[in-house]
C-alpha cells in the first residue's frame, strides 16, 4: 500500500508518489485464471530460472519466462497482458521438459496469451497467421522455393496436408469460425489500418 504523503504542492505530491508498490493494484484472480486455462499449478513456481536458462528465445530477446511466472503469481495482470514479450515464446516446451517443479510454463504463457487475446491485445503478425491458416491450412504456407526443394528431394511438391487435400479446409475453417478467431483477427487488423 502506497504511503500517503501530505505535501501542500499537488505537483510535488505527484512527483514524489510511491510507484513501486504492486500489491494494491494486483488482481489475485489472475493467477487462478492462468492456472485454469493453462492447467498447470503456476503458483508453485520457485523462481529457479531453469525455464529462462532453457529458453531459446531468451538469449536473443528480452523474453524472460521466469518473470512472467513471477508477475502472474503477483497478479500483475495489466503489466503481463500488455507486455509485447509475452508473444516471444516459440512454444518449444524446453522449460516444461526441465521445470523441477513439474510445471508447464509454456502452457501458462499460452493461457496469458489467451487472456490478452480476449482483450484484443495481440501482435498483428499473429493475426495474419490466423488469416493464413484460415486461407491455406498453414501458418507458413508452401512456396515456390519449398516446392523446388521438395522436388529435388524426390518428394511431391505439395505435402500431405490441406495443400494436397483442400477438401479438408472447410472442416478446419469451421473450428476457427466456432471460436470467432478469423472474425476477430479481421476486425482488429482492419481497426489498426
Amino acid at each position: 500500500m502506497a504511503v500517503k504523503k501530505d505535501y501542500k504542492d499537488q505537483k510535488l505530491v505527484e512527483k514524489l508518489q510511491d510507484r513501486n508498490y504492486y500489491v494494491s493494484d494486483s488482481n489475485p484472480e489472475f493467477i487462478k485464471e492462468v492456472e485454469r486455462l493453462g492447467r498447470t499449478a503456476a503458483h508453485m513456481c520457485y523462481q529457479c530460472g531453469t525455464c529462462t536458462g532453457s529458453c531459446p528465445s531468451a538469449p536473443r530477446s528480452s523474453y524472460r519466462i521466469r518473470l512472467f511466472m513471477r508477475k502472474a503469481i503477483l497478479g500483475l495482470e495489466e503489466e503481463v497482458l500488455t507486455d509485447p514479450d509475452l508473444w516471444l515464446c516459440t512454444t518449444c516446451y524446453s522449460c516444461t521438459d526441465r521445470c523441477p517443479r513439474n510445471l508447464a510454463p509454456t502452457d501458462a504463457i499460452m493461457a496469458m496469451r489467451n487472456l490478452a487475446f480476449k482483450r484484443d491485445i495481440v501482435p498483428r503478425n499473429f493475426l495474419k497467421t490466423v488469416q493464413a491458416i484460415y486461407k491455406t491450412g498453414h501458418g507458413v504456407p508452401n512456396n515456390d522455393a519449398n516446392r523446388a526443394a521438395r522436388k529435388k528431394l524426390g518428394l511431391d511438391e505439395e505435402p500431405e496436408t490441406t495443400h494436397k487435400y483442400p477438401e479438408y479446409l472447410p472442416g478446419l475453417r469451421k473450428i476457427i469460425d466456432h471460436y470467432k478467431m478469423k472474425e476477430k483477427a479481421d476486425r482488429i487488423l482492419a481497426e489498426g489500418e
Binding site: Q47, G49, T52, G53, P59
Partner: protein
C-alpha cells in the same frame, strides 16, 4: 492371569477438555458435559480448561475416590498424545489404568470441523457416548514384563553406526556391529575434508574406527548382512549372513589350528593377483585386485577375495605362504545372535544423476559428482589429491558447481526433498579448489544457500570472501564442446534476469541422496515403516526422532533422512541412549492387549495358528485335547485370530467382542438401549 476385578455396577466419570480454544473454539464443551450426565452408568461429568494439567489430572483422581468410579472417560485429544497421562491419573486414583478410555474430540473432530460448531458438538456427544459404553465394560489388565537380553545390534558401520556401537559398548552392553562392506567407515571415510572446520575426514574418523575394532564390548562383523529377524523387544533373534571372505583372520586361523597364521594385511596376495577390477571405494576411478582392501586405513585390516572376479589361480595362496590365510573354497556362513534392542544406521547412496540427462553425467567426461570430486581432491585418492579433468588429465581452472542436482525436484525423476548437506560441501569444494589451484575460480549455481548449522553461515561468508562466485539460478542444461571437452553451462542469473552460457573446464553435480540399496530390505526384516521417499520412519518427527514403530528398534543417521555428520553423530548417540534403556532396565512392559484362548470354547482346529502374522500362537495338548496357546510376548494384539475364530474362543483383551459391540450399539442406538 492376574486377579480380575469384575464389573459390578459400572460407575463412569466423564471429563471433557476445552484444550484452550483448540476444542472449545468449535465444540460446545458445556453441552457435551451436560449430555454426558444424562448417559447411563455415568456417575459424574465435569469439564476443565486443560485436563492434562496437574489440576485436571487431580480432578480424575479425586472423582474416582469420591464417586467410587469403575471407569474413566476423558474426551480430549488423540490417545497417542495423552493416553499415558490419563492412565497414570486413573491409577493415581486407585483404579487399574486400563479402566481408562479416551474419546478423541480434537484431532478427529474440532480441528477438522472448525467451521461447523453444531455438527462438531453433536459428533463429540457421539464420541463420548461410545467411550462410556466401552468404559462400562472395561476390565483390569496387568501389563506383562519380559526380560531383555543384555546385548544390542547396530546395522551399518558408517560414522553413525560406529558412534552408536561405541556408546552402547561403553555403557557396558555387548554390541554386534554389522557392516555389509569389508571395512567400517562408511561414506565419511570417502570424504576429504569436513565442513565447516575443514578437518581431514579420515583423520577424525580413523581413531573411531580403531576404537571400534579394539573395543572388547563390540563384536565387529564386517562383510556381513542381516538375513532374518525374529522376536520382539528384549528378545530379537537375528540371523546374519557372513559372506564368504576367502581370507582368515588370525583368530579364525588359530581356530583351524594354523599357528601364527591368518591375514596380517601385508598385501603379498594383492601384489600377485592377476585380476584387475574397479575399486568401488574410489567410485571406479582406481583399480583393485580380486583380493583387495578398499584403502590403507581399513578396519579390520583383513583382505577380502571378490569371488565374482577371482579366477582361483592360486597365486595368492602361494604368496601368503605359511600364514595360510587364504581359503579359496570359503562359503557363506549363517550365524544367529540374540539381542535386546537394535539400531539401524544403513546410510545413503547417491541418486543416479545420469537420469537427469540434461546435465550429461556419464555422457560428458568432465561432468562429475561431488563424491567423485571428494576422491579426486583427496590426497589418498586415485590422483594423489590433484584435481584433474577426466578427459585429458589437465587441471581445471574454472569449475561450475550445480546445486540441487536432483534434489527439490518434483518431476518424478529426482527427489522432492532437500538433500541437506550439498550446499555446505559445495562451499567446501569451492574453498578446496581456491586453496589448491592458483587462479582457479569456482562458480556456484544455487537456488538458495542453506547454511543452517552452527558456524555454517560464517563458513559461507568465508568462502565468498575467498573469491567463490555465486550465481543464483538453477542450471538448465550442460553441453560439451566436442573438441576441447569444455562444458557450456546454461542457466539464468535470476538476480540479473539474464540468461547465461558459461564455458567451464569441469562441472561438479551436487547429486541428491537416496536411501542405500539395502535399506528397504533391512526395513522389511525389522518390520519398520518408511516415508514415501523411502527414508525410515521415526516414531515421532519431533518428540521421538530415534525410535520407530517397532519397539526396541531405533534409527541413526541418514537412513532416517538426509543429515550431515554432526546431526548423524548426535542422532546416533540419541539412538544408543534409547536402545540402552530397556537393556539397563532389564525388563520391558508389554501392553496387555494379548489374545487369550477361552479353552472351554476352543475346538483345537488350529486355523488361527497359521493366520497369526507374528507366530505367537501354537496348539498344545491340555487335559487330553488340543487347545490354542498364546505366547503373550509375541502377540501384538492385532486381532486377526480373534476376528477369525469360528467358535468365538479368542478373547482380545481390551478390545473384546462385547466391548466393541457395546460401542457399535451405543453409536447406532443413539444411547437408548
Amino acid at each position: 492371569m492376574a486377579e480380575v476385578k469384575k464389573n459390578e455396577e459400572p460407575r463412569i466419570g466423564v471429563f471433557v477438555c476445552h484444550c484452550g480454544t483448540n476444542i472449545a473454539g468449535s465444540i460446545d464443551v458445556k453441552a457435551v458435559m451436560e449430555y454426558a450426565q444424562t448417559l447411563p452408568n455415568v456417575a459424574i461429568a465435569d469439564d476443565y480448561q486443560y485436563m492434562c494439567s496437574t489440576p485436571g489430572q487431580n480432578k480424575i483422581a479425586e472423582a474416582i475416590a469420591e464417586h467410587n468410579l469403575t471407569g474413566v472417560v476423558v474426551a480430549a485429544c488423540s490417545p497417542r498424545l495423552h493416553e499415558p497421562t490419563f492412565r497414570n491419573a486413573t491409577a493415581e486414583g486407585g483404579l487399574n489404568p486400563f479402566r481408562f478410555e479416551m474419546a478423541n474430540i480434537r484431532e478427529q473432530n474440532s480441528w477438522v470441523h472448525m467451521h461447523q460448531p453444531e455438527e462438531a458438538t453433536s459428533k463429540a456427544k457421539d464420541a463420548v457416548r461410545i467411550a462410556v459404553a466401552k468404559a462400562s465394560l472395561l476390565e483390569d489388565l496387568i501389563p506383562k514384563s519380559v526380560p531383555v537380553e543384555k546385548a544390542a545390534m547396530v546395522v551399518g558401520g558408517g560414522v553413525g553406526g560406529m558412534q552408536a556401537a561405541l556408546d552402547l559398548a561403553n555403557a557396558g552392553i555387548k554390541t554386534y556391529l554389522v557392516e555389509k562392506n569389508p571395512t567400517i567407515g562408511g561414506r565419511m571415510s570417502q570424504l576429504d575434508k569436513t565442513f565447516p572446520t575443514l578437518d581431514c575426514s579420515q583423520c577424525i574418523l580413523t581413531p573411531k574406527m580403531v576404537d571400534v575394532y579394539r573395543h572388547e564390548g563390540i563384536e565387529l562383523l564386517t562383510y556381513t548382512e542381516v538375513e532374518a529377524v525374529e522376536g520382539y523387544i528384549g528378545n530379537f533373534d537375528v540371523t546374519l549372513r557372513k559372506k564368504a571372505r576367502g581370507v582368515l583372520t588370525p583368530a579364525e586361523a588359530e581356530a583351524r589350528g594354523i599357528v601364527g597364521g591368518g591375514c596380517t594385511g601385508c598385501g603379498d596376495c594383492e601384489a600377485v593377483c592377476p585380476v584387475i577390477k574397479p575399486n568401488p571405494f574410489e567410485l571406479g576411478m582406481a583399480p583393485r585386485k580380486a583380493v583387495y582392501i578398499y584403502h590403507p586405513q581399513v578396519s579390520p585390516l583383513i583382505y577380502t577375495v571378490d569371488f565374482d572376479a577371482c579366477v582361483k589361480c592360486g597365486l595368492c595362496v602361494e604368496a601368503c605362504g605359511e600364514k595360510k590365510a587364504i581359503d579359496l573354497d570359503a562359503e557363506d556362513e549363517l550365524i544367529t545372535v540374540k539381542v535386546g534392542t537394535a539400531i539401524l544406521a544403513t546410510g545413503y547412496d547417491i541418486f543416479p544423476i545420469e537420469k537427469k540427462f540434461e546435465w550429461g553425467y556419464k555422457n560428458y567426461d568432465n561432468v562429475i559428482t561431488s563424491l567423485e570430486f571428494e576422491r579426486l581432491i583427496c590426497a589418498s585418492g586415485p590422483t594423489g589429491g590433484h584435481l584433474v579433468r577426466p578427459s585429458d588429465g589437465e587441471t581445471p581452472k574454472k569449475v561450475a558447481f550445480v546445486l540441487c542436482a536432483g534434489s527439490r525436484d518434483n518431476t518424478g525423476v529426482g527427489k522432492p526433498y532437500c538433500s541437506r548437506f550439498c550446499c555446505m560441501y559445495s562451499l567446501k569444494h569451492a574453498h578446496q579448489i581456491i586453496e589448491k589451484i592458483p587462479g582457479a575460480v569456482p562458480y556456484i549455481f544455487y537456488m538458495d544457500i542453506r547454511s543452517f548449522g552452527k558456524m555454517y553461515e560464517e563458513f559461507y561468508y568465508r568462502i565468498q570472501d575467498e573469491g567463490a562466485k555465486f550465481i543464483r539460478g538453477r542450471v538448465a542444461n550442460i553441453t560439451e564442446d566436442p573438441v576441447t571437452k569444455n562444458l557450456h553451462v546454461n542457466a539464468e542469473d535470476t538476480l540479473l534476469g539474464r540468461p547465461l552460457d558459461m564455458e567451464v573446464d569441469m562441472v561438479v553435480l551436487a547429486a541428491a541422496v537416496e536411501p542405500s540399496a539395502e535399506t528397504e530390505k533391512t526395513r522389511r526384516l525389522f518390520g519398520l515403516s518408511c516415508s514415501q521417499d523411502g527414508w525410515l520412519l521415526e516414531a515421532h518427527p519431533k518428540l521421538n526422532p530415534c525410535g520407530t514403530t517397532t519397539a526396541g528398534v531405533y534409527l541413526a543417521g541418514v537412513c532416517q533422512g538426509p543429515k550431515d555428520i554432526p546431526d548423524t553423530v548426535a542422532q546416533a548417540e540419541g539412538a544408543a541412549s534409547a536402545a540402552s534403556i530397556p537393556i539397563h532396565k532389564g525388563e520391558v512392559e508389554l501392553e496387555p492387549y494379548f489374545a487369550q484362548c477361552i479353552e472351554e470354547k476352543c475346538a483345537g482346529c488350529g486355523l488361527c495358528v497359521n493366520l497369526c502374522p507374528y507366530g505367537a500362537l501354537a496348539l498344545v495338548e491340555k487335559d487330553g485335547r488340543k487347545v490354542m496357546q498364546v505366547t503373550e510376548a509375541k502377540c501384538k494384539g492385532c486381532g486377526t485370530c480373534g476376528g477369525f475364530c469360528p467358535g468365538g474362543a479368542i478373547w482380545m483383551q481390551h478390545f473384546a467382542t462385547p466391548q466393541i459391540v457395546a460401542q457399535i450399539d451405543a453409536f447406532l442406538l443413539g444411547g437408548e438401549q
